[in-house]
Symmetry: C2
Subunit: 424 residues, 2 copies
Amino acid sequence: MTPATPGHAAITPIESAAIAARAASRVLATLDTSTKNALLTDLAASIAVATPALLVANASDMHAARTAGLADAKIRRLALTEASLAHLAEGLRQVASLPDPIGQVTRDDVVPSGLRVRRVRAPLGVVAMIYEARPGVTADAFALCFKSGNACILRGGKEAAASNAVLAALIHAALARHGLPEAAITVVADPSREVLRTLLGLDAHIDLVIPRGGTDLIAFVREHATIPTIQHYQGICHVYLDAAADLDMAERICVTAKTSAPAACNAAECLLVHRAIAPTLVPRLAALFAAAGVEVRADADAHALSPTTRPAAPEDFGREFLDLVVALRVVDDLDAAVAHIRRHGSDHTEAIVTDDPAAAARFTREVQSSCVLVNASTRFNDGFQLGLGAEIGISTSRLHAYGPMGLEELTTQRWIVEGTGQTR
Amino acid sequence: MTPATPGHAAITPIESAAIAARAASRVLATLDTSTKNALLTDLAASIAVATPALLVANASDMHAARTAGLADAKIRRLALTEASLAHLAEGLRQVASLPDPIGQVTRDDVVPSGLRVRRVRAPLGVVAMIYEARPGVTADAFALCFKSGNACILRGGKEAAASNAVLAALIHAALARHGLPEAAITVVADPSREVLRTLLGLDAHIDLVIPRGGTDLIAFVREHATIPTIQHYQGICHVYLDAAADLDMAERICVTAKTSAPAACNAAECLLVHRAIAPTLVPRLAALFAAAGVEVRADADAHALSPTTRPAAPEDFGREFLDLVVALRVVDDLDAAVAHIRRHGSDHTEAIVTDDPAAAARFTREVQSSCVLVNASTRFNDGFQLGLGAEIGISTSRLHAYGPMGLEELTTQRWIVEGTGQTR
């Protein structure tokens, strides 16, 4: 944190919001757990009550998105339903039920000088998040930041503006009912890059920015942010089908990893098939994907084995389709698979299917993505599935938090040292 | 990590060094512990053998620094002696003796889906460090990065160029003897801001940059870095002498915290005295500091109590003197002390001297610096003193590592998940 530069320029609305967020963060840092949980439970109830209003707002977002010709995958991410709102409210109750990380002592030792040394979890302070269409993120991100004692500044996509405005109003009302500062959450309504650029320079008031999105957003943030950043970059996730793969298991994993949630960041985008099993597996995969409505973009070798696939263009490798499309390539061996992943992957999630423990060990050692799975779908790289209880997203930054970010990952650790007059 | 942009510009020397560092980092990531320890032990021996050569190089740095009129505090940081080199070699042996963090399993659970979920420490990859005069940092930083499986790119101050060049040559020779890639360490000899700016943009090849230094360096890095950053910013450390302070303890802590190592970042720079004890304590402190050769810059109230002090200018508060100079201020109460620290501190180290447990509890809760001490000198915020075994510096960034950074703080954690065909 740098002291704010005393300037002569007028303070912009986003800067005054950040200053208010900093002040709110000092209040949030010392709230007791029961106060935080009561707010979250109350908010869950008010989302249930306000479901009709949320659906109306979301319908207007959806209408505008269709009129603007937004891609189907993006429209799917934008949609709220009665079921998804119930799930969202349940998520808030679940965050309330999780242990409070703040004040947790991760070390407590007496060192040789006689000092008692404790390492204690503390909030980061003010967390900004920049994300795209999915409006549910607004409530999730608030809940996780609030429970971990952080104020948040949320800048969602303009496509979800109406849905986000109603969610923000519900959260502000709940905070007011509990006598808590409304600046615990700021939803930035102005979608301009100018405001984003200003926000990214507010390192005096904001401690972390989490950009969640594609190449353009990440590049813009990297260019302009003076605030520390944890990227939630795209998931270009690979499944490598080893020579020693169980073919039935390989099929089940590949098909579900692509089809169960094609717009999710942990969905498989590219399958790498060992040459030894390609003549059997590629035609079987091609038939299954065709039946599931998935377009397969195959390299020359794979296409030769299964002419119903579409020949891949070079740019189909290293691409996040976020849709019912998958790339398929035949590789000579595990080394070639690792080299392909190093070149085209995004450090997000990679899986190997194999019955050979040596191949599994080499793959998990040589591929250093945030999550590497053996004989399981890439879709398990998820805070709930890995036991974190909740997640704000999946970090592809190696610093601070690599992989799913839950409550603990929204905290820092500081040192509290008690002595009896020790000097040095 | 972003893929390098295919560009038409020629690759600069610093970029090709970073590419070589990335390649070396893949080798370092999988080295076994005994190989790493053997290298470090061997390097310690070669520093002992090469002590005369190091002292000659350091003498030429010192001569140039004196000729250039460098401040005394900086010259003190630059000096190497037989004793400091022995200490440095001992530090390398100590790093060899510390547990290897790489591969450590920090979680190992079977989750309800039947997946075995492990969280495992892994290297960050390539770590760049930018620092000033102290040449010992070159060996320390290499040792910690190497033991934690990281390649490093070190850009020391130009004042220490000759000393750093000899250290780099010794390390390269040791790496070569052990058949390890010399690009495990790059010492950047070119001191220009142009090269620094290029380095700060190499996010495709460098995973972390640690700037260790003052305001100008930190501001430059914040402005230009697209690489994630952990700042080791200045230590504007405060000691608050509470109304309930033991006065003898207060004196001992204040005097040693300033004088034992005035150029250290954890030295006290400002003392805040509660008004109730000021009439007694301020004159006693003034006399002790005068005897120890420390210049006291006092606010009006403190100066009135002890006219031998020098009246402080406004800019003496919030200033890192790095010298035998200390600021002194009388405050009305604990709230005023906390407010002063929030305004002028650098989130580094703050201490309270008090016999009142309630005051200690409030101070440690409301001051969220990386290390807050009760009844002990600020000088204990140090990786060795807090039990980390070693440190590369003290982070004032809240992300990833806040406070002293040892081996563990130079690693990330990734997830390794083993299944039996789980799909979703």
